[in-house]
């Protein structure tokens, strides 16, 4: 057959596309369960990391069962909503809704220093989504721990948000000011002044990711505002 003829070209392209599609689809389906499991384990590890519990891929599931006492969903008024599984809530979908309709997951963890509340966060970095978990002391004001992760921030710059040293800086910071206003934590550029207990040092070269993280914290904590206040009193 003429290799440069139209018919040969069409048949070749058609067979190639069908073959490739079939291979990719079957591989994707075959590997799906393993991938879902990995993502679930990672989520458990992240939640545990926000209360400063180190875990490995193998012991994460057990540790999670042991440490996370309660998980439930609240709405923006701080009322508990029954019958929704907090762990499997898709934050991306929730954030797209108006604030009043959002389902807000809360995880409770009993540690040696008392009860901690873990709140999930999700926002936008420079190249893609960023997310994380923040744990708050039972005074509903002091940050006990935080963990952040990202999909595609630049290594060495924005991607530094997922390093321990950056995350540790959040420990002990306060969410509310003296008069009870929610001001969260700002990420400082060098030379910028901000109250010590409401700010951490930024990442040089990672300004847009830092700003995104700052906005994520403020926006998401605002959604939980009523819940935080109701538990506080």
């Amino acid at each position: 057959m003429d290799r440069n003829g139209n018919i040969y070209t069409f048949i070749y392209a058609a067979i190639m596309v069908i073959l490739v599609a079939a291979i990719l689809a079957s591989v994707a389906m075959a590997l799906k369960p393993l991938q879902t499991k990995n993502i679930e384990i990672e989520k458990k590890q992240d939640i545990l990391a926000s209360v400063n519990i180190e875990s490995t891929a193998t012991d994460a599931a057990n540790l999670y069962e042991e440490k996370i006492r309660k998980q439930y969903v609240v709405n923006s008024k701080g009322e508990i909503i029954e019958g929704v599984d907090a762990f499997n809530i898709d934050l991306k979908k929730e954030r797209a809704k108006p604030q009043e309709g959002q389902l807000l997951p809360v995880f409770e963890c009993e540690t040696e220093t008392g009860l901690k509340y873990i709140l999930p966060l999700r926002g936008a970095g420079l190249w893609g989504p960023i997310w994380g978990y923040i744990s708050i002391d039972s005074d509903m004001n002091t940050i006990y721990g935080a963990t952040f992760d990202h999909q595609g921030e630049t290594p060495g710059l924005g991607a530094e948000i997922s390093t321990k040293s950056f995350q540790n800086a959040f420990k002990g910071k306060k969410l509310f000011d003296q008069s009870g206003g929610l001001i969260s934590v700002t990420i400082k550029k060098s030379g910028q002044s901000a109250p010590e207990e409401h700010s951490v040092d930024g990442i040089s070269g990672g300004t847009i990711t830092s700003k995104g993280l700052e906005k994520m914290l403020l926006d998401d904590l605002n959604s939980y505002r009523e819940f935080l206040i109701s538990k506080k009193s």
Binding site: Y12, A13, L24, V27, L31, T154, P155, G156, L157, S204
Partner: protein, 214 residues
């Protein structure tokens, strides 16, 4: 056909891209990804391994198919094969070594756009037998990779004071702790990758006069 597997001619396919026909320093291909992944050593290393795998495999596949590919759609065929391989690699990493796949994040996808890969398919695999194409793929990817690793090493050392994530410059040296040293912030920004690649090109050309254009 009677060439031994590792004849001198075949070995040259493997070694020449490391030096005098290096894809980055001589042909100046694949520069964009060399900027993006070299702020630290680890992503540079992982990128190198992935490019070796994808380039070697796609070279072999194209070489096997070379007598059947219709000339007019050969670029599309090449792209489909590269893209499918990259997706396969990504899916397999996600299922079996989730940590590594997180490290690579968007860079796996970026392999598709690496001009070295299509360049080798077009220039070599379409006209040569599979074994030679395999060697050519490994050689070129390694030639690309060692530059990435050197640049990553330099940038991480001077930009972050660490190597492969391990701190090598003592904390007490830093100005903030009363020392005399400060990381060079310029190093972690992309321009410094270009300058580092430029310095490597300079050294290479001053040692090998054949490479200097008139």
């Amino acid at each position: 056909m009677s060439d031994p597997l590792f004849s001198n001619k075949n070995l040259k396919l493997l070694t020449e891209p490391l030096g005098k026909s290096n894809p980055i320093t001589v042909q100046v291909l694949g520069i964009c990804s060399a900027l993006a992944v070299t702020a630290q050593l680890k992503p540079a290393l992982v990128m190198t391994l992935s490019v070796i795998a994808v380039l070697a495999l796609s070279n072999v596949i194209i070489s096997l198919l070379r007598n059947t590919i219709p000339n007019r759609i050969r670029i599309i065929v090449q792209l489909v094969i590269i893209a499918s391989l990259v997706i396969l690699v990504d899916q397999i990493l996600k299922a079996f070594v989730y940590d590594v796949s997180k490290q690579l994040s968007v860079f796996v996808g970026l392999i598709i756009t690496n001009c070295i890969i299509m360049g080798r398919l077009e220039a070599f695999a379409l006209g040569n037998r599979p074994w030679q194409s395999f060697l050519d793929g490994v050689g070129n990817a390694a030639g690309y990779g060692w530059i990435l690793i050197v640049v990553g090493f330099v940038r991480e050392l001077f930009g972050s004071g660490s190597i492969y994530g391990y701190r090598v410059i003592p904390d007490s040296w830093y100005m903030t702790n009363g020392g005399f040293y400060e990381n060079n912030g310029m190093m972690i920004l992309p321009p410094m990758a270009l300058i580092t690649v430029g310095i490597i090109i300079w050294i290479q050309r001053s040692r090998n006069r054949e490479l200097i254009e008139n």
